[in-house]
């Protein structure tokens, strides 16, 4: 029974790592600072939650699990404050977001396109 839970927990940890990787890919693909915050919040919420849930399943019903729950609660309380502070600092210092529809193109192609007046 314990080893089954460990394997399920391991699966959750791997899934969380995959979500964190997706967040990193999003940070590279998205065009400007504000959209990149959205990609990074995948790592903050989905990635961290799945890793901690997996570790809870591996630890079982112990004090360690309770501590992991505390870690999760504090991560969920502090990451939006940090993201908020970053976005607010960028906006109040006059960094304009790029507004409007655009397809995500490959990074090297994006560098070649000329920047419009709304570019940061």
């Amino acid at each position: 029974m314990d080893s089954v839970l460990s394997w399920i927990g391991g699966g959750f940890v791997v899934a969380g790592v995959a979500l964190s990787l997706l967040g990193a890919i999003g940070v590279l693909r998205f065009p400007d600072f504000y959209t990149r915050i959205h990609a990074a919040s995948i790592t903050d919420t989905g990635g961290a939650s799945l890793v901690l849930l997996g570790l809870c399943l591996i630890a079982g019903l112990t004090l360690t699990t309770l501590k992991l729950v505390f870690v999760w609660v504090f991560v969920m309380l502090t990451t939006p404050v940090a993201a908020n502070a970053l976005a607010n600092a960028a906006f109040s210092s006059g960094h304009k977001p790029r507004i409007g529809t655009f397809q995500i193109v490959r990074t090297d192609e994006r560098r070649k396109t000329p920047r419009g007046p709304d570019a940061p």
Binding site: L19, L22, G23, I25, G26, R29, F30, P31, D32, Y34, T35, I37, H38, A39, S41, I42, D44, T45, G46, L63, L66, K67, F70, M76, L77, T79, P80, V81, A83, N84, A87, N88, F91, S92, P97, R98, I99, G100, T101, F102, Q103, I104
Partner: protein
């Protein structure tokens, strides 16, 4: 002063959950750290206010469960945008008005928006929030209304 026993109990329980020690020396050190925290809280004069939102705790727990579902849905939506070459992104700045009256309610609503992938609160001014969203069609000013109603009633103690 009515909040003081609750605060002592919460601090002691939190200390024991983190340490798990029962030896007299450790219990004494734990009591000392609880006293030190109480002294700091008393110096800040916040024992009666935001330091002890216990009466909101059940409502906020229910709200947290609802928010978790929203976070999962938003995670999937943003992941589709990250991976898919067919999904264009459409960033937009939305002005959202909150019905929350207390600072706790406004903070809960603003942080819920930021915690949900795809939307970030950029600025809070009175009851107006400036929100940067990744996708225009799913982030109109009305689409934040359910979250605002639930956050406000959870934190301010009003019925939705």
């Amino acid at each position: 002063m009515t909040y003081l026993p609750g605060l002592i109990l919460a601090l002691a329980a939190f200390w024991f959950a983190l340490s798990g020690e029962t030896a007299p020396l450790f219990l004494m050190l734990g009591a000392l750290s609880v006293l030190l925290t109480l002294w700091l809280v008393a110096r800040l004069k916040i024992i009666d206010r935001d330091a002890s939102p216990y009466h909101h705790a059940p409502n906020i727990l229910v709200y947290g469960g609802w928010l978790l579902v929203e976070i999962v849905k938003a995670n999937l939506a943003v992941i589709r945008r990250i991976l898919g070459p067919t999904h264009a992104i459409d960033p937009v700045m939305v002005n959202v008005t909150t019905t929350a009256r207390t600072n706790l309610g406004k903070a809960l609503f603003a942080n819920s928006i930021t915690l949900t992938p795809g939307t970030v609160t950029v600025d809070v001014d009175g009851d107006r929030l400036k929100v940067h969203a990744l996708v225009r069609e799913t982030s109109t000013a009305q689409s934040f209304a359910p979250m605002d109603r639930k956050a406000a009633s959870a934190a301010d103690g009003r019925k939705s």
